[in-house]
Subunit: 239 residues, 6 copies
């Protein structure tokens, strides 16, 4: 098996995390997994959604979008179609659940964090890049809240990151790009904590069903990749 | 650990599959996993969506809904809100992908199968019950197509079913009901083929992250449950 | 004239009213008029819509839906179309007005009753079956409110039920099924009180206009049918 | 009983029908029932909706609207709310059914007639005024089609008009204005042909149920009013 | 150059402003610029939008619509399409900004003025007719507020009116009708105060770009027309 | 008068035009006017909208969006609100009209060009930056069409660019940033051709009306700025 990119089976793409990418948001990151580029911002607003009012805790919610020509073919703009598609909703729910797992909401104060992940160029793995990049922007937003004295303790419980793995031409590979993704037999997205626990595991057989041993091989590959990604997050956060 | 229902950790709820539940649809099943009750219909229409026109193959698509008071609290009707929620879209995409894995579309002729899963009473596990019941309705709809001479061979590749597993009070349990589901630390939905392959695996940590060994224990429990469910499907299909 | 079902011109279909059909709602009925089957639930929420705030009275509102394949041909799901159709809105407005006529809102306390009528199988007369069944579910919901001590007196003023009549092959007939309904020259829906007063009368000439004497013959037939239906409601309400 | 307007119980408001009210439409009428003023246009387009394609017949469809401040209190504009309300849909369905009863669609050729009834000032009875006025605009549009040679015979079967009746302070009255309408115990809209047949009868008890004899008294009043209205239509159509 | 209407290049169409055109609104005007006819109402409601709450000032907002057959070809009704088009939104934003320039909001009290401009017949220049007519309806609505004692001073700062100019067959012309508008090389809408200042200037080259001297010629023409229009507004306001 | 940025009254911000900013689109530009940053892509699709079918000409259409946190306060995502706001529609209509003025559609072949302008950071002047940047991306897209042999001649008639001017603290200034824009008395957007003709002129008095001489001063300033901007476009297009 030869990967289209020439990478080794267990090799990540070149990953770059650029902080303070735009100037208005409390946290703002450009994350690049190879040619996949996502702007992740975290915005702070005081107050919480109605279902949490008066409980003394905070909230985090996420939205995801793609510029119409982030992809090989232009997609209709969701704002002009008048609704977000199922894929978009599914991804933004995943991002939201994943990042909430990083936080102790009771320490956040009555603040809401809005995470926006907007793909400006897509080449596979946009949801895992979004989670990885937004985690860094979230740290920056927490620093702003801390400076303002709006927290009720340390809300950060753990770092979160994500990566995709899959079966490509019969073999498990790490961090699929678009060419691999569209030809893969199985696609597995893994969200983990820096302590090695799983937050989300979503595997889909695109063609043949996958077997338990393939599953385990993919998880092992994901774990390896995650270790490297957590190091990259850490490096990006050094001021 | 004691399950609220008194079931053993590896015990399914009482599962019932009633065919020909309503009279108009080509396939119509009421599936019950304990108090969870879903009407699954499969409707046949000739023709295919535009993106498949002229390729000589068929298609299957799924929709999911809940009656407003299928749940403990009434939910706003999606038709009057003017849109389907993210959870609904996520579930119906899962049902569609899972059932398409049962079929060889090139044998289906230019027909579209519409799967509708409508929950009339919810008590946990509505998506796994939907997949399990809709598979049986799908078999009945294929029989109708065969009788009409609309097929181009045998489209059925394999049987598909689904079950949920989770970590409840620190222990892996099979087929969570609502009380367990809302208190579980981890929730894992597994879709499999009757040959033991995985079609979808979706695991979410609700509280603490889950560990690799917990993951394997849950998968083993799911495999055990699936074997029983495939037997129940087979029994239901005896005329 | 021979009716497709072989019924006499003044003969109702077999009507069944099953209480406590689902477990969550305060009132839950499956009503069957022959092959027409509707799940009617009544849900209680404290509080009233804004336009009634602070007036010390209650409210009742109704919604109506059909499963996509409740009918001979599949209809597009209203939730995925993004809006309820004109027929749906017309029927749910009728159900709401009819059931509000059963109640003295000033005795209800500041509670809102949500009536949901969902057709799981359609064979003509879904709106009249819905009103008839929902009336029984409403009684059960009032019992719950009474037990909770949430009422300010007895809100029930009278029983309400409904039936359709029509001109089929030149003759007035009672309780049309789908075959008759789609071929009828005139279709008349009648909502009455158990004291014999009219709440709603909606007659439509589908082909030739109807004449005053035909109108009177249809009303007489409706009155006869209503008497039987009120007996069936009463019988269903015996515990 | 004294009517707020001082009219006799069986007295219509002053009714005026002005043809060619606007210049673009094939038929264009301003109809006034007292202070109720409705612009009714009929627009001709060649072609028919998809469900009628290739059947060699025509179609008529109707839409209804109110200017936001046609009423005592301003109503939100339906175009900016993003949907038509239930009342609007109910009324435009009634207008469409009523006017289709005037035509033999097989003689219309493959043409579609769009009826638009827009209330510029409301004072009760907007739906009956709409039907009455649109019937006259329809005649003018048919003349245009005839001149163009687009008809396949004479599509006009009969004239249609409409009026409301009700029980006001215990007595039946003809052609209710807003003050009466909002205080009436019963409201009955009647659509008839000039030969005396009924096309639609829609009666609603607003307070107490109405009794069969009240019903008959109201119908008699409607019939009297309709005779006068058909004379007014005829007079308006004299060139 | 000969204008289709035979008018001189600097000649307005016949303009008529009819006050109290409908009876419910606080201000109600029918404005006619030749065959262009617009009903302009101004409705008063106490209270202001959320973003102005508690600031002791008022607000004015505008909406614009066209009856479906106000034009040569029928347009789909925006209420049934489910959204207002870009042209509609652009025009109503222009009307709102223009009329707000007439008022000192701090003198208005916490009241909101809703301006509705509904075109019943279109023949070019509907937005400029709307602004011109609505200004007169606004004066009438202010009188009502004054009588009620709801004002905190005199909110009227200046009169506002609007007119279109353009380049038609190479020459600047005033107040374009539809035939000219659809053939014009340049279309310029000008909103001014009665003291000669500009509120809005919106010029669009439909074909060739326009040159600075053409621009100045058009502005001069607009200024001439505005003077006449302000006289017509003044005359209309004499009781 | 001192500008917040310290610029001279007739001084543009630093403008940068980066071609090939993303990899999928036929034309892709990042345009920066100071801190305002917009991604402009031009996508080519064969075929034209229905209203142009069979006329042998092409079309260009534009859409505009802002990332939710492109601004100081987060704005709700239009895709999740379910509609584009009036400001968005107004801007994208302006961009489309402006760029169509650059082209001879009869030379474009039956192709459609989709222009997408997405603001990733806003600091005033996003619409003028969008037009200026999209013009460059359009040139690149035309080159692709030329290479493919899809053109029927040279469609480019002229270059188009845009800039804003305004009255700030009583003086005309060029190219307003957000601080100036939000405090300006008048705001004027000017779209021109490289030959010095006007395509669009949109001026709005935010506070006091503007006078003819102020208008002329602003236009002169715009013309000066445009000359510099056309040079920057030209420089960016050197390969």
């Amino acid at each position: 098996m030869k990967r289209p990119s020439g990478r080794a089976a267990d090799q990540l793409r070149s990953i770059r995390i650029t902080r303070n990418y735009t100037k208005h948001a409390e946290g703002s990151v450009l994350v690049e997994f190879g040619d996949t580029k996502v702007i992740c911002t975290v915005s702070v607003e005081s107050g919480v959604p109605r279902f949490l009012k008066g409980q003394g805790q905070g909230w985090l919610t996420a939205e995801y979008g793609m510029l119409p020509r982030a992809t090989g073919e232009r997609n209709q703009r969701e704002a002009s179609r008048g609704k977000q598609g199922g894929r978009t909703l599914e991804i933004q729910r995943l991002i939201g659940r994943s990042l909430r797992a990083a936080l102790d909401m009771s320490k956040l104060g009555e603040n809401t964090l809005y995470v926006d992940c907007d793909v400006i160029q897509a080449d596979g793995g946009t949801r895992t890049a979004s989670i990885t990049g937004a985690m860094v922007a979230l740290i920056d937003a927490l620093k702003v809240l801390k400076k303002r004295g709006s927290l009720k303790g340390e809300p950060l419980k753990q770092m979160i990151a994500a990566v995709s793995v899959g079966i490509y031409q019969g073999e498990p590979v790490l961090d699929l790009d678009y060419l691999e993704d569209s030809a893969a037999e199985t696609d597995l997205n893994v969200v983990m904590t820096n302590a090695g626990g799983f937050i989300e595991v979503q595997g889909t057989a695109e063609g043949a069903p996958f077997q338990p041993d393939e599953f385990n091989a993919m998880l092992a590959l994901a774990q390896k990749g995650m270790n490297e990604i957590f190091e990259l997050q850490k490096a990006a956060l050094v001021d």
